[in-house]
Amino acid sequence: MSTAPPGAEELERRVAAFLAAHDPAETEPLAFLRARFDAGLAWVHFPEGHGGLGAPVALQQAVDAAFERAGAPSNRPEANAIGLGMAAPTLLAFGTEEQRRRFLRPLWTGEEIWCQLFSEPGAGSDLAALGTRAVRDGDSWTVDGQKVWTSMAHEARWAILVTRTDPDVPKHRGMTYFVCDMRAPGVEVRPLRQITGEAEFNEVFLTGVVIPDEHRLGEVGEGWRVSTTTLMNERVAIGGRAAPREGGMIGVVTGLWRDRPELRTPAAHDELMRLWVETEAARLTGERLRQQLAAGGPGPEGSAAKLAFARLNQEISGLELELLGSEGLRYDDWTMRRPTEVDFTRRSPGYRYLRAKGNSIEGGTSEILRNIIAERVLGLPGEIRVDKDVPWKDLPK
């Protein structure tokens, strides 16, 4: 028997009933989170039985806020961004019922962290050129290759992995998508030190890693289509965060401007106000994107949001450093560390400036995003593709 999805009032009622039955102060955090998932109050737009109630995604914010007000334990979404933002929507779109049952609950509760094995040293912007081989052997696959720029690989229990399964056809057609057990023999994770001195990311070496066929997502050869779903969600996740006015990077500089009158110059003021305007425009655009998502699905505006966010972060962090003059020449710490989350506000201005450089590279370079907008949104002709009908094995590498 199917009923209409619950509206705002019904959700409010269900949250209240849930909280009455599971006092956050009395319930063990993990038990609480599991129960919340089972009650369909985890991600309310997911289907029933998978942590949701088939409700409009727009109602999620109110549900989260109600749990937060009640002092409920958090599933620490910041520690599992890949899992929540990319793996989960892909599992939902392409996973079998069994795969969804196995993976979604511990993913949402934060018991199992996820990472993404996509980029390779030889396949960055041109992801579809990737060469990590998966060879079928009965009911399982054997994987060999190298992945790079994998955040959280050292903490992750599972990975979403895209591989080459047929080198004899053009690149987009010969790929297959898997869930990879990060504890499987042959998975080796090495930190990748970056320009800030720390290592958020890893290189992952896969040597004879065996993956059961039941951990395949989508059909054999369909890996590109599955990856596209993951990447569309990545762009939304990176560019579309909710923020109050003067939240994020601009708030650091406006705070500095108000607190330190001696740093003010006319040129910096003009620059500051220009960036304030652009940040506020980008913030409202993000808000409009969220309203659109609530009414439909992720649109091309996600790419625009990420493009704007990257440029603004870089310009604002650059202004902050200049505003500080000689003080801006000091750096807080070059020690090699393994941060589990990026927090721009807790580190020094030099860190912010350097880390922001990654914003126009990670999750699709700004140049690739411009191509995507020009071709898919504006309908301009595509780049000349010399690799289009060439079997993957014959491409120059």
Partner: protein, 355 residues
């Protein structure tokens, strides 16, 4: 948070207007109009009157459309797309907002198209800008006001004096046409020599409200214009071949247009926020209006400039519409305060003082 999307009524209004404007206000007509003596397109104005969009935010019992500034913003977008030479911004937005704030009796005549009013201020006057000095002695007004948009089209002039806002019959004022950068919205210089005025509202409040409404709504015109420029340019780049390839296949152009599209998606959010704040009387309106002008002015100018540049030689000719967009975009950027002025206003409003 304000609703930044378009509703069904707004979508319907847009499609009705766009169809009509494609027919009645095609760019060759607009271009021809810039060389005529008539200061605006009176027959198009009558069609807009029949559409019932002249006073959308005014209540129905006062002859208005009983709608809000949000729907008015959609009209502004469509008129901006068409660079329509009609006194909608000056009459149906700015003057109407002044009369709404004042609760004046003239409103129904404006709503029905029977009369046309404009606020007698230089078109560059920002919502917090200085007002020209006009003397009012016993209800008789004396002074000069330059660069008043649509001054020649209006039959009522709303003249701000130090004590009050006055309605003055245009026949009692000397009006000199100005050869304008934007001939689709022409300016006029006014000379008042003891012209009789009727008090519409005491003080400056109605004037400031009208200018703020104008700034908030102008952003939607700029949005519509920018979108039109982008569309015209992408269409051209798909069909123009050089070196054996469509010009639009070169990244040097594609990437600039992608950036422009990104800016336009932002302009839409910013313009919607301003319209929404104006419609609901939100406390954020002064910030929203200044933000809208600081941002959308620059987006529209860039869109028009890219339109000219990416069309190459043809874009520099009189026979191509690109110059109509460019002149309107640049004039709009100056109208109701420059982006620089609005940034300075924002600095004051959000407490980021200058050096």
């Amino acid at each position: 948070m304000s609703d930044l999307l378009y509703g069904e009524i707004e979508d319907d209004l847009r499609s009705g207007l766009r169809g009509m404007l494609d027919e009645r206000c095609a760019w060759p007509d607009v271009l021809a109009g810039t060389e005529k003596d008539e200061p605006s397109d009176a027959s198009l104005w009558r069609v807009l009157t029949d559409f019932g969009v002249l006073a959308l935010p005014a209540p129905e019992e006062r002859g208005g459309g009983g709608a809000t500034w949000r729907e008015t913003a959609v009209v502004m977008e469509e008129l901006g797309r068409a660079v329509a030479p009609v006194p909608f911004l000056t009459g149906s937005v700015i003057a109407t907002a002044a009369l709404l704030a004042a609760g004046d009796e003239l409103l129904p005549a404006l709503a029905s198209g029977e009369r046309t009013a404009v606020l007698a201020l230089p078109f560059g006057t920002a919502p917090d800008g200085p007002l020209p000095s006009v003397n009012a002695i016993d209800g008789r007004l004396t002074g000069e006001i330059r660069d008043v948009a649509d001054a020649l089209t209006a039959d009522v002039l709303l003249v701000p004096a130090p004590d009050a806002l006055y309605a003055v019959d245009a026949a009692d004022v000397t009006r000199a046409p100005v050869t304008s950068l934007d001939m689709t919205r022409r300016l006029g210089d006014l000379t008042l020599t003891g012209a009789p005025g009727r008090v519409v509202a005491k003080g400056e409040e109605a004037v400031r409200a009208a200018l703020t409404a104008g700034a908030a709504m102008l952003a939607s015109e700029q949005l519509g214009l920018a979108e039109r420029c982008l569309e015209t340019t992408t269409t051209y780049l798909r069909t123009r071949y050089q070196f054996g390839r469509p010009v639009g296949s070169y990244q040097g152009l594609k990437h600039r247009l992608a950036d422009l599209w990104t800016s336009i998606t932002q302009a839409r959010a910013v313009a919607r926020h301003a319209a929404s704040c104006l419609a609901t009387g939100d406390a954020d309106l002064p910030v929203a209006a200044a933000l809208a002008q600081a941002h959308c002015s620059q987006v529209a100018v860039r869109a028009a400039e890219e339109c000219v540049q990416m069309h190459g030689g043809i874009g520099f000719t009189w026979e191509h519409p690109a110059h109509l967009y460019l002149k309107r975009a640049k004039a709009d950027a100056i109208a109701l305060g420059t982006p620089g002025h609005h940034r300075a206003t924002l600095a004051r409003l959000v407490d980021l003082p200058p050096a």
